[in-house]
Structure formats: C-alpha cells, structure tokens
C-alpha cells in the first residue's frame, strides 16, 4: 500500500514515540530471548552443541535478519504468512523467502490494545502492536503477506495489516470434506499463486514447483525424524524440540534441514548410548491448543520443564509445533496440475485446526491427539488457551471427554500475553505434574 492511501484501522503515532517504543521493547525482548535460551541450557546441562545453531537463528535481530536483508537487496522477495495454511511450496517455487509473522512477543500487546479491545486474542493484538512500531524484522521485511481467514481474530487482523502491506487472503472453507470446498480452496490457492508470480516476476513452472516440493519433503523428513525421536525415552527436552520446530518459520529451509538432520544424528547416538535428557520417570506431557510462539510464549513450556516435579514435553498439537510440517505433499504424477492439487490437499485436508467442523465433530483433530497420546506415551495433556481464543476454548470439552475415556488427565490452562500470572500458573502446573508423577510411579 502506498503512503497516501487511507489507513482504515491504524493510529498515527509520532515517529519519535515509535522509535522509543521499538527500542525499549527490542532491548527487553532480546534479553528475554537470551535468558530463555540460557534457562533451556540449564535444564538440560549436556544440551547438544548442534542446538547452538538454532539458538542463533532464534534471536530475532541477528544473523537471519541480516541474511534476509541481503537477499532482498539482491532482488529476492520475502513473503510473510500468519498461519500454516499459506502454501510454502508455492512461495519457495517462485524463489521467494517464506517467513511466519504472527507474533509471540508480550510487550507489543499494549500497543495493539489501542486498536482493538482487550477481549481479542493476544496473538492478534501483539501482531498489530509489532507492526505499529515496526518491531519484527520478518514482518517489516515482507513484501507481501498471506493471511488466512480462519478465526475471527485472523480475519480482522488481515484487514488491519492491509494498512501497511499488500495482503493476500486465503479463506479456508469451514467444511473440508466436500467437493465444493476443495474446488473453492483450489481457486483460493490459484489466486495466491498468481499474485506470488506477479510479485516475484517468476513463473512457477512445473520443474520449479517440483524442486520446491522436494525441498520441503526433505525438510518434512527431518522434521518428522525429530518428532519421532520424542516417541521413546526422552533424548531431547520438549522446549528444545519446539525451538527447532519454530526456527523453521523464518530460517532457510535447506540449511534448517541439514542442521536438524545433524541434531537428529546426535540424538540417535545418545539414544543408543542410553543418555537421556531427563530421568526416565519424568511425567510425559503433551501441549494441545492455541499456538505457542517464540519467544515470550515460552512461559508455559518453561514452567512445565522447570517445575518441581519436572515434566517433559514429548508432543504438542500446535500449528506452530508438531503439526507445522508433519504432513508431506503426496504427489501422484508430477504434472503441474497434480502437483498443485497435491499442495492444495496438503494444506487443507490433514489440518486439524478447530476452525473446521464436520458431522462427526472435528474428528480429525480428536484422532490426531489420540494418535499422538498413544505413540508418544503421553501421561497428561495441558490444554493451552489464550483468553479470546474462542475456537480452541470451545473445543476443550470435546477433547476432554475423549481423553477421559482413554484415561489421560487433562488440565485446562487459560492465559494471556502477560507475565503477571506466572506465579499463579506455576502452582497449578506443579500440582498437575505432581498428580501425573504419582500416576507414573504408581
């Protein structure tokens, strides 16, 4: 959008105030990132060296930012996305850099509150705040944004962001399993594909798309390898695995793949040598619910893995975690059309986002959770919800009933983008872990 076009939502802030706010939040957040990485090291004293790479990428204002700036100067385009419905294959095929821009920073929420009421989901408020002061390098560097109209918050967020950047919306149908839905979804993707081609000036040919799909296959392979390593006795702490998963959101896909494979090699060696990341009787926890985004959102994972008694996160059901790259694109015949259909299917059909509904009550999500609980031998589930996140909150009872049936305790944790409730949550999480521990030992 150009400067002269009318701003629909955003407020004018004095440049000086912007600069000040940006600097204070940046300093505070940098410190927090470093502190959290330090705390992860402390919990897991023999944390593999391979993790250092991910620590480096995890620092927002650092190596990766510089790389993207340089790539941009060479003429590469950056395409941001708010949600995992964005077709990364298409972005990569056009030679652009995909970055996820939904925010996990706490402080900008206060700024977002000036634009939207506090009842709104904090991810949305924080992303608005981040944009107001130009805080996130990835959001700032994006040439365009792909937003998904999943929940109410995301829908309006895409309008608000369109004050600043070209925004391309993707509207996932609320029902997945009908012919109309699938053809509608394909049309949506086709439109986005054309926009990507226009922005980058690159035609997405079948050989380019094939190579992008194969690159992501390799990434998915590494991703799943890491998640599969969490099936057995704990060789990696949950937070570290989550950090690896998250860095993929803005890292270079191929390098990330290599580094993750390396990490997995090391973890496999450890598993063979029976070197575990924590005692074997540590309760195995799964986090379900609203996405947890680096860095400030590490609140809950921190609490679980630093608690007394300690827990270890062996699985999650977050679109920013285990689900992010779990499903590969399954191409039958490598023609343009079939590849495109395969990409479209991959983003819509296996998604377990609660924005979908079906006759059987979003059975896909239930099945995903049940499968993870079984394969990762989960002792208890923390159902994590932000205030204002309707869809996840409303589906809690559905999930709880299922988990009750298979006798897996679940604990509902609602929180916000704030540090004030840490103490209070801590007691509750510890009580839950205490209970799990007694069950494990029993």
């Amino acid at each position: 959008m150009n400067e002269t076009s009318e701003k629909k939502y955003s407020l004018e802030i004095f440049p000086k105030e912007i600069e000040e706010l940006k600097n204070t939040i940046k300093t505070a957040s940098t410190k927090i990132m470093e502190e959290y990485i330090e705390r992860m090291r402390k919990t897991w004293p023999d944390r593999p060296e391979e993790m250092q790479y991910f620590d480096e990428i995890a620092k927002f204002w650092g190596t990766r930012e510089k790389e993207i700036v340089e790539a941009r100067e060479e003429g590469k385009k950056v395409i941001g996305y708010t949600c995992m419905f964005a077709p990364i294959e298409l972005i990569l095929a056009a030679g652009a850099i995909p970055v996820r821009v939904s925010s996990g920073l706490y402080d900008p929420v206060k700024l977002g509150n000036r634009v939207v009421p506090v009842e709104v989901c904090p991810v949305v408020r924080s992303t608005i705040g981040v944009k107001m002061v130009g805080l996130s390098p990835y959001l700032e560097l994006s040439d365009a944004l792909i937003t998904s109209l999943t929940c109410d918050g995301m829908t309006k967020l895409s309008e608000i962001l369109s004050d600043y950047k070209p925004v391309w919306t993707l509207c996932p149908p609320r029902l997945k399993d009908s012919e109309q839905s699938i053809s509608f979804w394909k049309e949506e993707l086709k439109a986005v594909k054309e926009k990507i081609e226009k922005l980058t000036g690159t035609k997405i040919t079948s050989s380019k798309l094939k190579s992008a799909i194969e690159r992501l296959h390799r990434a998915t392979r590494a991703f799943r390898r890491l998640q599969d390593l969490r099936k057995g006795n704990p060789v990696i702490m949950g937070r570290d695995a989550m950090l690896v998963n998250q860095t993929l959101m803005w890292d270079d896909v191929e390098r990330w793949t290599q580094k993750t494979e390396k990490l997995c090699d090391e973890l496999e060696r450890r598993a063979q040598g029976k070197v575990w990341a924590c005692p074997l009787k540590t309760p195995r926890v799964m986090i379900a619910g609203t996405p947890i985004i680096w860095p400030d959102n590490w609140k809950l994972p921190n609490l679980v893995e630093e608690a007394n008694p300690q827990g270890v996160i062996v699985a999650d059901e977050l679109c920013s975690g285990d689900r992010f790259l779990y499903d590969p694109v399954g191409v039958d015949e490598w023609t343009m059309e079939d590849m495109f259909n395969a990409v479209a299917d991959r983003y819509l059909l296996p998604s377990t986002c609660p924005c979908f509904t079906s006759e059987d009550g979003n059975e896909d999500r239930v099945n995903w959770i049940k499968a993870r609980v079984e394969e990762r031998r989960v002792d208890g589930v923390v159902y994590h919800v932000y205030r204002g996140c309707m869809l996840y909150a409303m589906e809690y009872m559905r999930i709880k009933k299922v988990l009750d049936k298979i006798n897996v305790p679940v604990y509902y944790l609602d929180t916000d983008y704030t540090r004030e409730d840490v103490g209070q949550i801590k007691t509750r999480v510890e009580a839950f872990l205490e209970m799990l521990k007694s069950r494990v030992e029993f």
């Binding site: 997945k176 390799r218 590969p328 039958d332 395969a342 059909l349």
Partner: protein, 321 residues
Amino acid sequence: MLLEIISELLKLTIFAGLALAGILAILIWKKNLTTKVTYLRTFVQVVAMIAFFYIFSYTTWLLLILVVIFAISIVLGRFFCGWLCPFGLYLDLVAVIRKTLNTRYWSLPEKLNRSLHILRYLLLVFFIVLPFMLGPIEAWQWSLAKFLMGPFKPISVLLGPVEPLIIPWESPLKLYGLSFSYPYASIITFYSGENFALINTFIFMALTLASSFVVRRFWCRFCPTGASLAIVNRFRVFKWIPFLRLSKVEEKCTKCGICKRVCPVQVTDVYEQKGGDITTSMCMLCLRCVEMCPYEDCLKLSMAGKTLFKSRNWLEPSKIT
C-alpha cells in the same frame, strides 16, 4: 514346428530378461519408496502376461483357466486385477505414456464411477446368466441365445482380458511370423467375419487405449471379469472368504486425501471409511494407496490376519548427508 517353438521361447526369454533388467535398473536408480510397489507390480504383471502366453499354448481348455482364476480370486479377491491381468498391464502402460507426455488424467465424477461399477455386474449377468436362462427355453432358436452361447460365450468373455499380445494361435494380425492379439480380439474376430475382424479389433483397441489414456484404467471400471472377481468382496456374507484384506487404523489417518487422489480406479472408501476393514469390490488391491499413505501403519494389507505390507513414512529413506 519344434524350431518355431524354440525360437519363440528364446524371444520371450530375452524379452522377459530385458524387462526384468530394466525394472531392476529403475528400482536401483529410483530409491523413492513411493514407487517401489508400483514397479514390483509392473514386474509381476509382465511375468503374469508371459505366463498366460504359456498357459494358452499348453491348454486349449479355457474353462480350466477360468476356474483357476476364480479360485485365485476367492482367496485373493481382486488381487488378480491389480497384479496379474494382462489387460490391466496394457492400460497401466498407456498411463505411463500419458505421464511421459506430461498430460493429466481426467477424474470421473464419483456418481458416474459408481454407476460404471454397477454396469459391470449387469454385463456379467448378461453374459453368464442369460445364456443359461435362454438356453433351455427355446433351445437354439433364439438368435440372442445363439449369439450369447456362440462367440460371446461366457468363458471367452470372462477370459477376454487375459489374452496376451502375442498368442500361440492363428490371428488376423501377423508380424514377423508372430501372431498378435489383444484382449477380446478373438471374440471380436469370431463375431466379425473375415473382412471386418481386423478393422473391428483396431477400433476396439483404439477405443480402449484412448479411453484409458484420458481416464486411468477406464476399462477396469466396468469390466465384467472384474465383476466376477469382485463378487466375494461385494457382499458382507462373503466377507470371510478372501484372505487378502485392506484395513485402516482410524486414529492414524489424518484424512490427508492422498489415498483418494492416487487411486487409479478412484476408490473413495479408503479415504471416507473410518477405519477397520476397507476392502471393497471396486478396489483391485494395487496397493498404490498403501504405498502413498505417509503415516506409519495407517493402511495395511493383510492376509489371513498377517500383515503383508503397510504404509510408512516414505520420506524416511532419502538420507541426506
């Protein structure tokens, strides 16, 4: 005579050897797990086709062959269609040509696909039951009865798809001393009379090849032989008979839709059914869905309770160093 047989034998052996070497080369070159079963299947199909040639040259007792095929189908269901039928192989090869030309197939609307499947049974009834019903009534007077018991007698119709390309008997189409044929060609020849036999066969060939060029395994969607093999899978009462079963674990299926998209005969049950036994009469057990399903142990082929082959994370083998 003897010399001829030997020369044919030699030709076939060379052909089979070349095919085998080619497939092995592809297998080694392509370490991709998602096509392994497909290659194996093609290999088995080629071997089966050659076997049919030999069977035809040793016995003219077609009924025996048919009985054997039925016996196989009772134990294995429509495994025959996916792995042994020569006509199926030709149709698959047409698809290979289409793929190399980078053309995408058309999908039939689901309803049409299902009605074609019903048509298959109607054809079967038409060819098998009608002659027996008409026969006793009016003996050989009825021209329809004559027609059905004559060239279109059930045995030849049902054995139509297994006619190999090179046949040990006389045919209108000869090249370099070899007799060529095509599925159903002997029936068509029988029926068409001298002058039109070749033309009719060519028309039939053109139609079947063209239709399967645009729609995967088009003929197989209404083939009456397929129906006779499918019957044991069709009705619940017979469910206990075929030992080969396809099953799905509900929790492991993410409904990713891959199985539905890759199925050459557009079976939707694998995708839509919740879990448990998902063998259907439309499915020809080609296992494409099982090899493409990306989740461990989600889809499974089992025989008499033993797992023969199951889906797995096919991203696994491509180790990058």
